[in-house]
Amino acid sequence: MRHRFGQSDRITVPFRMLSHRFSMIAMLLVSCALLLFGRAEAYVFDDARNKTLEIMTPVMDWMSSPSALFRSWLENFDAYFDVYEKNRILREENSRLMAWKDRALQLEQVAIRYQDLLDVQLEPEITYISGRVVSDSGGPFVHTLIINAGRKQGVAEGQAVVDRRGFIGRVVGTGKAASRILLASDLNSRVPVLVEPSNDRAVMTGDNTSRPNLEFLSDNAEIKAGDRVVTSGAGGMLPPGLPVGITVQTNEGKFRVQPFSEQARVSYVRVLRYDFPGEIAPETEEEAAEEEEALSVDASPPAPAAPQTEPIALPPEPQTPVLPESPPRVATEEPIQVMPLGEPSETVGDDDG
């Protein structure tokens, strides 16, 4: 196959080359300027990015349907070869998991009892928004995904995103019906994590490889290869306890995280909607203020109403001696409940009442 060059080239080449060179230099300068400016003021282009996201996602959504088909073929093709082996492994795993299930059910009961006893502040419920991946960044510089769920469905920036196996990243941009996810492997990704079972805290930093680094480990951290890594929830960005991956040790002795998730291979993801304890706090403060008001008036009718609004919580009643109702209420409960909770002064107060 031979290609011929344009006929008109011979006549206008000198002029063309000059103008080409000029606009070439201009465009190079503009690119560099954009890079530098974007580095300094990263948020400036966010609107442009989100707008592009919004406009292009329907197109990508449409275009990606055949690629999803291609992908399912690929997966089926893969699966065909190891169907017997897979079956055996799954059966073994299943029998192992059944044992674990029994154990988990037992432990769940125990945990519920303890939580009741200790009056643990339970994590707020997490709800999901599912979305299909319509685009990945397709390049070596940035690791992002675009999914076809956005603000309309309740996705907001900062929310954690998981696939069926574990944490994959978080939302960094949203459009009306589209959002962009920064994968944990991206150069800009920083995720506070917890390494189990030693409970060492670390920050998982992406470096554009498939295995993110574990950084800021304390010197006396007791981590082995194969330890489980979960999100720690530190910093209030992500819900705690999401499975992330397992640790692997590199030749230099540093630790990296082998993610559970399929990363770029993922086709459906779930965005987690999660209300942070910090965001609920103002309400409880208000309640506390109301209670205080009610007590300062020292009217007996509102006083018993206040404890009823709370489940079994004991600590917010430092005024127990003032209330005639509280001693009987405490008396109906088991004595252990008071012990781990109330500060010494309160328990003393109860005894006095």
Binding site: A33, S64, V142, L182, A264
Partner: protein, 152 residues
């Protein structure tokens, strides 16, 4: 008057074809192919488009078009703006400056030329896949050129 209007329309049309092809290439690359686990290695079809048009018809693929294609990819991927523009402009600049060398050469030489240009990026698996797939892409670009630009 009428004729010059027609001519400028025709020029616009001619300019739009390679640009549209390159934009489509960006989107095509960014489809979730799922070929990779973790490290994204989808071949960069837009790079091939920039190479192809830079070689055969740089007059239809001016630097500003190259810049816009890169900008589009940056906006889509959410990365730093100007990064892909810079990569594409660099490739384009090298190709255009070496055009005279490639004139009249066999396709194999042009293919190898593409490999040479990719070599600074060769640490990336993406570059390798792009190299492998270039002949297919070039054939498609040639078909587009023949179909829409009345060029052999």
């Amino acid at each position: 008057m009428d004729r010059s209007l027609t001519r400028s329309f025709s020029a616009l049309y001619q300019l739009s074809i390679p640009f549209a092809v390159a934009l489509f290439c960006v989107m095509f690359t960014m489809l979730p192919w799922g070929l990779s686990s973790g490290v994204v290695i989808a071949p960069s079809f837009a790079l091939m488009a920039v190479y192809y048009w830079g070689l055969y018809r740089p007059d239809l693929m001016p630097p500003i078009a190259v810049f816009l294609v890169g900008l589009f990819q940056d906006l889509m991927s959410g990365g730093p703006l100007g990064l892909w523009s810079l990569v594409y402009l660099a490739v384009y600049g090298v190709v255009v400056s070496q055009r005279l060398f490639f004139i009249g050469k066999a396709f194999l030489a042009i293919w190898i030329g593409f490999g040479v240009i990719l070599s600074p990026l060769s640490v990336l698996a993406q570059a390798f896949l792009s190299f492998i797939l270039y002949p297919i892409a070039a054939r498609i670009f040639a078909a587009v050129q023949k179909q829409f630009l009345n060029q052999p």
